[in-house]
Amino acid sequence: MDKTKNIVPILRIKNLKKSFGDNHVLNGFTLELYEGENLVLMGKSGSGKSVMIRCLVGLMQPDEGSLEIMGKDISKLAQKEFNELRTELGFLFQGSALYDSMTVRENLEFPMRQQNKTEEESLKLVLEALDSVGLREALDLMPEELSGGMKRRIALARAIILKPKIIIYDEPTTGLDPITSKEIIQLMRNIQQNYKTSSLIITHDVDCARVISNRMILLIDGINYAEGTFEELSANKDGKIQAFFK
């Protein structure tokens, strides 16, 4: 992916710092995601991965550093502009975060609320997204009627409904059995190919990282400790790096 270094990153995090009291979670974390790239971020539990993505999508304010999405510094955007920019981001939450009180269709229509789409247009997009994850028959089901894997797929369909340029996956395979995990990973690859998205994937799952990543960053002690392809990092002799691949 060295050729990507010549182009402007679609997402850039620079010198990000965030502390909770004396606990310094992020100590100058830096990341660049390029168009069409699948970047995997790995780190131990509590290493600040979730804090980083919460800062990135505006759910948390960083103490220091800059966050740029498609060349726009999010700290300088008005709320309305930031909300518009958010439609270019798809987000797959670790626990799926489907709205309990809504059907699958309503869940998928929810991100389109500000888009002034007709009912036919909305339904077309919903069905298209459901087809992408192979769950068209779940259209009128409630989240409680779905299995864990189905919920994750519906959440994935919701993340891509607005055809975002960037998708952020927070632990996409956590809590799933190996077969369902493989299905989800395959879906992520299909989506990346069909929708031409760039993906930032946060995971503990080495198999997921091996299959899907173009490039990896290891987050240790609040900084990007190591960076490279899966093969480069897995061959590295550093004990801290090897701990991820054992």
């Binding site: 975060a97 309990d100 991100p111």
Partner: protein, 259 residues
């Protein structure tokens, strides 16, 4: 040691009051700005109104029944049982009906809002709404507070009517007073100054029920334990607030209508 603890408790109490005031301020800011969530507002009105109707009806009926049964012997002692309809109607419409029904709604609606929003918070559903570019405060909080403001007065009117029916039933069975005579006496006794303050304060009751439930749920933390706490404290804080509002309402009514 105790002084420090009292100081800390006072500090956290006033911090909570400050946060609640800020939350209420945000509600007033967002309620008048577009887009308006009419569909969700209607859904919340239906949930709060329709689903509380049976509980409020039963409570009102028993309230009227018991109140009349308990008051009868005393009034009879003074040969004043003919005052029963006016005494019961004024007591229920002015004070007992709104307060009891608001407390019942605090238990059902406010805790329900606290638990629902709390579980949405801990399962990241509110975060998901925010990330999708929707304003969750407007969609979840404004609609619930508005629905409570609109529905609580209607539930109170309904509960009052059922309470008066319960009272009329007792008078009919025990005192051979016809329903027509009972309600004629009720309408003779009730004045504008009885209905207006009670109706106005019921809107404030609705605001308190919606506000505190939403505040506790929306700011819920600490996982599933936090959801329970949000639901529980929503009832406690709302009940306290209802009595404070009632005290202020009686005080203000006294100034304007000389009770």
């Amino acid at each position: 040691m105790k002084t420090v603890q009292i100081g800390n408790n006072l500090k956290s109490f006033f911090t909570e009051i400050g946060k609640l005031s800020f939350f209420a301020g945000r509600f007033f800011k967002e309620v008048f700005t577009r887009p308006f969530e009419f569909k969700e507002l209607l859904r919340q009105c239906y949930n709060m109104g329709n689903r509380s109707l049976f509980l409020v009806g039963i409570t009102g009926f028993i309230l009227g029944l018991v109140f009349t049964l308990q008051s009868r012997p005393t009034l009879m002692e003074f040969g004043a049982q003919s005052w029963m309809p006016s005494m019961v109607s004024i007591s229920i419409i002015r004070e007992i009906g709104p307060v009891i029904i608001a407390l019942i709604c605090a238990g059902k609606i406010s805790s329900g809002i606290g638990a629902e929003l709390g579980s949405m918070r801990v399962t990241e559903q509110i975060d998901a709404m925010e990330v999708s570019g929707t304003n969750p405060f407007k969609y979840l909080v404004v609609t619930r507070i508005m629905a409570a403001i609109l529905m609580i007065p209607l539930l109170i009117i309904f509960g009052d009517a059922i309470a008066l029916f319960g009272s009329a039933l007792v008078e009919n069975l025990k005192g051979d007073v016809s329903f027509q005579l009972y309600f004629n006496k009720v309408f003779d006794a009730i004045e504008f100054s009885d209905i207006l303050p009670a109706t106005v304060k019921s809107f404030f009751f609705g605001f308190a029920i919606g506000l505190v439930g939403s505040f506790k749920g929306y700011n819920c933390t600490k996982g599933t334990v936090g959801v329970g706490e949000a639901s529980n404290s929503a009832v406690v804080y709302t009940s306290m607030l209802l009595f404070i509002i009632d005290f202020i309402a009686v005080f203000v009514t006294d100034i304007f209508f000389e009770l």
